[in-house]
Symmetry: C2
Subunit: 240 residues, 2 copies
């Protein structure tokens, strides 16, 4: 027979799963609806989530972990020797998921209430996956990275002790400029996908993926993808 801790963990999982299925189905994420789904009463959920906000946060973390896995999976469809293809496949997967799951995307990535930095950094977050992919790309292509001395001193200080991306603590100091490249690339991807998802732009441009393609094109230069661009563009056409 299962121990208490086991059933508790199982229930915890069922709660998050039920909550996720609700928001995926486009329904309201409410304590009572989750309880109904699990044949429980709403107050029982307070044994697992301190508040409604807390439940939302749990769901957000679960979704983020899931999309991180999807992104990693899309990347894994290409060989490790082709980090450029991996990166592009991951980016396309992220975009496709966001456009197809606007409510979930909003919950995780544009939620004012969920404190993300503190929690998402602890777990396997989507942003971290991109950090890893970009790092792998750099290991192969050796695109130029700024020297810390070329950066604003304050900024250089931050790069010496990076907070948000992957665990690059073992990256030697003279190539910590990579973190900056990384954050800038993430900002482009995140920004483009968010704009496309929330539609503050001509919808036809979104539908045909022009904005996304242009963003990738822009990044090709700084990321040393120029020589490979025709092949990667073809890959993009195929995936979009």
């Amino acid at each position: 027979m299962p121990t208490r801790a086991q059933t508790r963990a199982a229930t915890q999982e069922r709660i998050v799963a039920a909550a996720r299925s609700l928001v995926t189905a486009g329904n309201e994420l409410t304590l009572r609806a989750v309880a109904r789904e699990l044949d429980m009463t709403a107050p029982a959920l307070y044994r697992y989530a301190a508040s409604h906000q807390d439940l939302v946060k749990m769901v957000a973390l679960a979704i983020d972990a899931d999309v991180a896995e999807r992104v990693a999976g899309a990347a894994a469809a290409h060989p490790a020797e082709d980090p450029a293809a991996r990166l592009i496949a991951a980016a396309v997967e992220f975009r496709t998921w966001a456009l197809g799951n606007r409510a979930e995307f909003a919950l995780v990535f544009t939620n004012v209430d969920v404190e993300c930095i503190s929690d998402l950094t602890a777990t396997a977050s989507t942003g971290m996956r991109f950090s890893e992919l970009l790092f792998a790309l750099w290991q192969q292509v050796q695109f130029p990275i700024p020297a810390l001395s070329d950066l604003d001193p304050q900024l250089a200080e931050i790069m010496r002790d990076p907070q948000v991306p992957a665990d690059l603590t073992d990256v030697p100091e003279d190539m910590r400029g990579l973190v900056w490249v990384l954050e800038r690339a993430w900002s482009r991807l995140y920004g483009t996908v968010t704009l496309e998802t929330f539609g503050h732009i001509d919808p036809r441009v979104v539908a045909q993926g022009h904005l996304f393609r242009a963003m990738v094109n822009d990044q090709a230069g700084p990321l040393g993808l120029e020589p490979d661009l025709p092949r990667l563009t073809a890959l993009l056409d195929e995936l979009l």
Copy 2:
């Protein structure tokens, strides 16, 4: 004595104002709270908004109009002969406002429920202000714009009949590539500000404005601001 239509319009305004003040104050935007604010009962509001969603939309439009005005005001602090300074001042104002009013920003710019394209295009929207500023800049600087024939044919077709930005219908066809430049620039600004606002990045980078500065720097080239960059960077330092 005021006619019926007048009092109605006044009440309408008071409703939106009260609703705005609620979300500005960080409170929940609820029909009953708005009614309370105005010494009314909640059902009375149904004479002015068809539903709660409708009220939210009204507030979103009001906020958008307000930030559009702020942006225009910030631009107007610089002479019309200096469109570059105008553009930068406007961008900084947009960013500052977003960071200082996350809830309102989310309501207007990353709201899944509010259909923005259809409604925001009709009124004076924030995006449109930037279109105008960028157009003014182009008139002075004549930064290069792509020929429609250089663009993807589908994309070129969209540019011939632009939907979202300003009323550029009187722009001759051989410079409609400007619309594309415009949408791309907006995507950079929107994306950067959204990322900074929702904090999926190292908060220290946001606080010091490095990401925003880098974004502006990136845009300087394509927008023909290179020669002016030192001056504009100084302006940026001053405004941030």
